[in-house]
């Protein structure tokens, strides 16, 4: 039982470089939260269903509970903490607030990362495209309706007030 494999992992998160010795079995989400103290990304399930831990890894949206930290050696990671510039919220973050697209805020970081990835690929998504893009993010507070509005507003589309 004493055998513990660990490995040095170097990553860049939101533009900052980190190097840590990591147990091989440590999940990326726990590495971000517990080792790097980036607690914005959350854990909502044990099975990869809820998406609260979503981050962008080398430009691709991933669920950070479905990857080991050691798999990300050398990678560049974006998390919710990197969305705002200084104190200025990103248009998507601002739209989430303007359209009451969050209540408890627990799913919000993952939801924002999924929507950020969507808008990079598709700057003007339809409701159906938004629904498909965030289908892997569970929200128990809003029923998603205001999230659709927020994502559309952030993409410059007209939203019914």
């Amino acid at each position: 039982m004493d055998v513990v494999t660990s490995q040095t992992v170097s990553v860049e998160v939101n533009g900052t470089s980190y190097e840590r010795e990591v147990e091989a079995r440590r999940l990326l989400i726990h590495f971000l939260r517990d080792d790097l103290d980036l607690t914005g990304s959350h854990v909502g399930c044990d099975t990869g269903n809820c998406g609260a831990c979503s981050v962008i890894l080398d430009g691709t949206l991933v669920k950070s509970c479905m990857l080991l930290a050691v798999q990300t050696d050398g990678a560049s990671i974006e998390t919710v903490e990197g969305l705002a510039e200084e104190e200025r919220l990103s248009p998507l973050q601002q739209a989430f607030s303007d359209h009451h697209a969050l209540q408890c805020g627990y799913c919000t970081p993952g939801m924002l990362m999924s929507a950020t990835a969507l808008l990079r690929d598709n700057p003007s998504p339809s409701d159906a495209e938004i629904a498909k893009a965030i289908q892997g993010n569970i929200c128990r507070c809003t029923g998603y309706w205001n999230i659709f509005e927020a994502v559309k507003a952030a993409s410059g589309q007209e939203v019914e007030e």
Binding site: E23, R26, R33, T39, C45, N49, E81, L83, N146
Partner: protein, 824 residues
Amino acid sequence: MSETTVAEPLVVEQGETKPGYAGQNVARKEDKRLVQGEGVFVDDVRRHNMGYVHFVRSPYAHAKIRSVDVAKALDHPGVLGTMTGDEVALLTDPFFQISSPPGAHLKDYCLAVGKARFVGEPVAAVVATTREGARDASELIEVDYEPLPALTDARQALGEDAPLLHDEAGTNLTWEGVYEWGDLDQAFAEADRVIKISELHFDRFNSTPLECNGALVEFNRGTGQWTIHTNNQFPGFAAIMMGPAMRVGLDKLRFVTQDIGGGFGNKITSHPQLVACCLLARKLKRPVQWTEWRTDFHLSMSHGNERWFQDTEVAIKEDGTLLGFRTTAVDDAGAWLRYEPLGGVIWAQVTPGMYRWRHIRLDFKQVVTNKAPVSPNRGYSRMQHLWFTERVIDIVAHELGLDPVEVRKRNYIKAEEMPYETPNGCIYDSGDYTKMLETALDLIGYDELDSKRADAESRGKLLGLGIGSTLDSGTNNFGQSRLINPELQFSGNNEVATVKLDIFGEIVVTLGTTPQGQSHETTASQVVADILGCSVDDVNVRAGHDSYWNSHAGFSGTYASQFAVTGLGAVKGATDMLAEQMKKLASVVLGCSPEEIELAEGQARMKANPEAALPFMALGAIINANNAGLPEDLDVTLNCRYVYRPPFDPPDVERKYGNLTLTYAAQVHVALVEVDPETGVYEIVDYAAVDDCGVRINPQVVEGQVMGATAQALGAATHETFTYDEDGNLLTPNFYDYHVPHALDMPPLKTGYVESASPFTSMGTKGMGEGGGAGIHAVCAALQDALRARGNAIVYDSCNPYHRVWELLSNPDESRRRVTVEAT
């Protein structure tokens, strides 16, 4: 999509310069931190040298525990210590039981003692230096179980062969109450028709907040005090459960919360786990951290009450006038009574639903089973009962060939009858249910229903329309607990706020509540700013709850649809006091009477001479740091605490009669579904939700609650159920098997509102937020309407996944056998 209007500003106090924030969609103060990932949720709280707790859970639904051996776990690297049921039985007393006997005799500890009673029940705990290490070590704890037969169907609980869960109680029927009001014999004698329904079933589910339960607990050995950073949503209740069990006074238990990732009632009964963490922090002399895993939550935490309604009889006149009903409700509490049997009375807040029938009898039998304990879940206990009354309405309409819309209009309590006293003495404060129904039908395009039906038919689909009309009773009179147990000494309700003006003019508000997304920081600042004549940006509402702040009372927390009444009532009371003191202080400084002072634009100034003004900063500085020379008798602290106490009397225990809640928000939902008759697959193609919660402080926040509750209802109506096999294994222990609504599942939604101010609250508000039950019924009714054209089945379950609809299509007689109509 949504109808957003800016209502007339609520004038809290007369004055020309009042900003009138109440009634406006003020942007949420909470959002800035939450959209940046800067909220502090319980798992974000860290302490030096903390250990991680993992619970060892029973793999059996029912088993004697012969022994628990922790030796191998203790030898595991990184393990800091363990706790077992034997230790717990020495260190603590069983939790106080709300129930009268026989439920009163249950011996409930924070870990299983002697016997495990459901799969997932914590049997032992282990603490290690890492999360993973604690989990590893938990596998090394050896528990020797002797499996016993499991009881998984509440209807079998009273059978002679039924396994007995609690020897101390001597029966699985832990609480029973027979409620009867009016004159049933007369009602059934007067009836033209009697409809009998043999059995209806409300399924077991809960709201599954995305953040599971958790705590970080520190023990201060010098003072003997625990600090419990947690996401428990009702610290007042946790404290009265934990203190006596741990044999300490409540001063030894400090509860701290900040951001909570959803609660919906499911985070009220985490007190057993919190006790285990407290014992471990003391034993191991270090902070301990526990974060529940999703699977653990599903296995063990706060399921909603599953309920059967048996042998229902409904008395009706030929024209569809409802006279009364009698039924037996068999309620499945799971293995422990952690908040129960309060569900056995809370349904009675809404005894007649929205209807005028006066003759009602309900025999409530609550039984224990080898399943997870039930606890409050959004719409707690009223949802089950209102689903039942709505089912009755639609089955009656169906069987008598009446229009469900007309039956509702004929039997709804009328707007002009408000305030309305129900048969059991509850006072519905205000409302216009018919107007709500008409608004909802307009939103859904009811006038074109025939053409919609024909259009669906042309595509091979069956279209159905269903209505759900429900009440969200808020602000409990805890005196209702005496109907459960006359020995209990609870009654009324309370909530606390403090508002102060600090040295540099900061307005600081503290609440006793524990919000989980309900925007308390925002709505509280709207109320404060309106009274003090300043901007909402000038108002600083502390995030979360801390019992060190002295801004809590016995019933503090966020639950049961009450903040807009109790929380904001406390905020208004404290701010009114502060405003009075600010005027008094300004009058002393400016040499006039307090009546000559007004608060406006961040100043206290003379009405007749606005240039004679003191900015809030000057007032704060004078009283806090520059007070020499002030008159000795000047009773001003600029730090005001107010306890809001709603006007209640204890109910009459003998008659089971009295006002159980202060306000009655209402919901009318209408669903349109299209069913594929070949497969039972259906889609909700249109949906309208109309809400009335009286005066709305922040309409956007209100609408957000309506949307969230609706989404949860649709999940419960279509997919969500905690299903057990006959051995008591939970078949839906995670989000793979337990399907909550995803973005792709959402139907189009139209919202509307009616605003009937409550005459009983200081601002005309009503508590709201739990009104989702309407959606469960709207879907059931829509399915029944759709199936009318293909077999005429009766919908008898609250949860109707596709396979159940297929069963109704393929064997409608099985459902039809449940209903008979007799002429009298």
